[in-house]
């Protein structure tokens, strides 16, 4: 069936709303309802996954809606009883849940912005006093915002079967002078702007703008500052334990920093470099246990699907135990992040990155453009060399080492992305990603098997519970082993396409100021 027409237009202020109402009442039979004030809450994940897909999720009157950026509802709204929505898997089964789940994945919905909305509904009636169109006058006020000026708009809704009335009123609004469309996206932007924010003000993707003639120290500091910023932004979410990805992003920033300290050599003062290599190693260590457990807990549904019904009970015990362990580790992590040691590291690192000392720049090092070429070439060569050495008989270890090399190459491509043409860099990163996915999966499957094996060894024999867990873990191990064999078999083709002449030529072309990669 044809969707109902709806239009939304901006009005300058509250008095324009009243003028419009008066105007309509002169010409039409209007039933005017009392204004109603409700709160309108926008939700998205911390990293704006819904917005990035063109979705807006909001709650009003205990109903959760999913709309496009204009504000048209995409699926029927869902009744939620007063509580804030969290993870998609906890929502009642519905079309809305089906839309949200694959986009949000493991991320929780967070309140991004709140309005108080006052609406006044004017029903336009025909001579039978039947409603033939609805006009809604709306005033939005940003809750706790600094600006008190409301966003005023008018919405016209078609009633099915009364298209002509809609058209007539549309002309009426045009004559009144409401030229600018009003969308939900704009509402959201205004609300965020009132707090100095914008949509997508957090992204887990790394991006800094460098210039080829920048001094290496300035460039390196820019990179590290951005990474430190990411860590700071995720801190609170880790402390509040909102979802697993705060810690994940936090750890990626740590790893990138460590990688940077290793790869961008002789740029920072040796003492500084040595100290923070050690400090960031420490940060990696204290954040590790919770992340490891998170990885398994996120696998729960996947593992469940791998085992038959009679092994599910044992699996359930296993995950119960993991959840218990995680609770303890999370407590330790929170202590770690609140410790003076952590605070000192972050404070000192931040202070150092903000310092602008001329003396360091004076040293005769090539500009970052040249240095980046050299670093990338070196990493690329290393991946090529190690990858080519791998045969079907090579030990698993060799793939794990290649994975680390791949990661380093990826990080430096991302660090220096802004120095090169975007289109080509995108292609290189995509190509590398395919190799990384294969190696990453292979590694994940190894780590999982190791973990399950050591868990199995630690089970106290004798109890029925332990038996059930043992059976479930045994079943999983078989599954994971076969899966890993398959991933390994796919490695050769994946690497072959990564090391194609075409790809090598592209690397040469982009980073050619350094020596040629070996053939």
């Amino acid at each position: 069936m044809k969707p109902l027409a709806r239009l939304s237009r901006q009005l300058p202020d509250s008095s324009a709303l009243q003028e419009l109402a008066d105007e309509l009442e002169k010409k039409y039979t209007v039933q005017d309802a009392l204004p109603q004030t409700t709160s309108l809450n926008f939700y998205d994940s911390f990293d704006w996954r819904l917005y990035a897909k063109g979705f807006l999720c909001f709650e009003q009157n205990d109903r959760l809606s999913l709309a496009d950026l204009i504000g048209r509802e995409l699926v029927p709204a869902l009744s939620i009883s007063g509580e804030a929505p969290g993870f998609s898997q906890h929502l009642p089964d519905s079309a809305l849940k089906q839309q949200l789940a694959p986009v949000l994945e493991m991320r929780t919905l967070l309140l991004q912005s709140s309005f108080s909305q006052t609406t006044r509904q004017l029903r336009i009636l025909n001579k039978d006093e039947k409603t033939v169109a609805t006009v809604v006058l709306s005033e939005l006020r940003v809750e706790n915002g600094e600006i008190d000026q409301p966003i005023c708009s008018v919405q016209l809704h078609e009633v099915r079967g009364y298209e002509k009335w809609f058209q007539r009123l549309e002309r009426e609004l045009e004559e009144f002078g409401t030229p600018l469309p009003c969308t939900r996206e704009q509402d959201l932007k205004t609300a965020l702007a009132a707090k100095g924010r914008t949509p997508q003000d957090y992204s887990s993707k790394f991006s800094v703008a460098l210039k080829p003639d920048m001094a290496p120290l300035v460039a390196a500091k820019t990179i590290y500052r951005d990474l430190l910023g990411t860590m700071r932004e995720n801190e609170q979410g880790i402390l509040d334990d909102l979802d697993s990805e705060f810690l994940h992003d936090f750890r990626v920033a740590i790893r990138r920093t460590r990688s940077g300290l290793d790869m961008i050599k002789k740029v920072l003062e040796p003492k500084i470099s040595a100290r923070f290599k050690e400090e960031f190693r420490f940060l990696g260590k204290i954040t590790g246990p919770v992340r490891d457990l998170d990885v398994y807990l996120l696998m729960e549904e996947d593992y469940k699907s791998k085992l038959p019904d009679h092994l599910q009970k044992g699996l359930h015990y296993f995950f119960e135990d993991l959840a218990e362990q995680r609770k303890k580790e999370q407590e330790k992590l929170v202590q770690g992040l609140q410790s003076s040691q952590y605070k000192t590291i972050i404070k000192d690192w931040g202070k150092y990155l903000r310092q602008k000392k001329k003396t360091e720049v004076a040293k005769k090092t090539p500009a970052i453009g040249k240095l980046a070429n050299k670093i990338i070439c070196k990493r690329f060569e290393r991946v090529l060399r190690d990858g080519r050495a791998i045969t079907a008989d090579s030990p698993d270890e060799s793939l794990h080492r290649l994975r680390i090399q791949g990661k380093k190459l990826r990080y430096c491509l991302e660090f220096f992305n802004s120095l090169y043409p975007a289109k080509e860099m995108k292609r290189l990163i995509k190509q590398l990603k395919e190799l990384q996915n294969n190696l990453g999966l292979f590694n994940d499957l190894s780590v999982q098997q190791d973990m399950l094996n050591s868990y199995l060894a630690g089970l106290k024999p004798g109890s029925g519970k332990a038996k059930k867990m043992g059976a479930a873990i045994g079943g999983l191990l078989t599954n994971l082993y076969h899966e890993q064999q398959q991933v390994r078999a796919e490695f050769e083709a994946t690497f072959h396409s990564f090391s194609s002449q075409e790809n090598i030529s592209l690397y040469e072309k982009l980073f050619s100021s350094a020596q040629k990669p070996s053939q």
């Binding site: 709204a77 009744s79 029903r123 039978d128 006093e129 078609e158 009633v159 099915r160 079967g161 009364y162």
Partner: protein, 250 residues
């Protein structure tokens, strides 16, 4: 989608009031709902202040598709649309008679609406004809408003027999006592007789002036008097029906 037919072989049993108020309740609880007024008298349409298009007729209705969809009207209530009746519906039977697969025609007409509506209510004309047979086939639930008297019982028995003969699933049938005057012994006795039986709904609709007044207000009772006894009754009745629908459809 579930198709709920409100039907009785007899007239004046509160069919239209039941259709109007229940379809309103269905919509008010968040379900996209369509009320098809199949009674040529068009009382449901009257309650919602809707008239059919000049070009719409029984033939258009049976043709289905676009010409039917274009005749659907929004009511004054969110999630509730109505397909208004047309006086030509008095000829629906004759038109059906001339068609192939005449017993299952309605099912085909209603099928495309599945995507749009969660519940479709059919306010049916009183009689047993080819149209009623069509309704019985198409419906997932046949709700029979029933004044608890001896004569009503007689017609209900007849209907059950008809179902049996035609091989239609009798589990679709549900009885709701309607226009119940609790002071009348005959009403009390009849209800007592049926109490606790399968497919007799627990909630009954009392004979009250608020329902009679629908004609004046031209609004569903739960819309203009949600806290009245009648308003509450329809809300309760809808809850009971939804439960039955869910268990029946699963």
């Amino acid at each position: 989608m579930a198709i709920i037919a409100v039907y009785n072989i007899k007239g004046g049993v509160g069919k239209t009031a039941t259709s109007v108020n229940l379809s309103y309740m269905s919509a008010a609880t968040g379900n996209n709902t369509l009320l098809c007024d199949l009674d040529p008298q068009g009382s449901s349409s009257y309650y919602f202040r809707v008239k059919s298009k000049k070009k719409f007729s029984a033939d258009h209705f049976l043709e289905g598709g676009n010409s039917l969809e274009r005749s659907i009207r929004g009511t004054d209530y969110e999630h509730l649309d109505i397909l208004p009746a047309d006086f030509s519906y008095r000829n629906l039977d004759i038109a059906l008679n001339h068609m192939k697969k005449s017993r299952k025609r309605l099912e085909r007409v209603l099928d495309p609406l599945t995507a749009e509506y969660r519940h479709v209510f059919l306010d049916c004309p009183p009689n047993i004809t080819l149209l009623s047979e069509n309704i019985f086939y198409a419906a997932d639930m046949i709700l029979i408003p029933f004044i608890p008297t001896t004569l009503s019982m007689l017609s209900f028995t007849k209907l059950l027999e008809f179902f049996k003969e035609s091989g239609i699933d009798r589990r679709k049938l549900f009885v709701v006592f309607s226009m119940v005057e609790q002071k009348k012994t005959i009403h009390q006795d009849t209800m007592q007789h049926f109490k606790g039986r399968k497919r007799i709904l627990n909630t009954f609709i009392p004979y009250v002036t608020d329902i009679e007044k629908m004609g004046i207000y031209r609004q569903p009772v739960p819309a203009y008097r949600p806290d009245s006894k009648a308003g509450q009754t329809y809300a309760e009745l809808w809850r009971e029906i939804e439960e039955n629908l869910l268990s029946h459809l699963d």
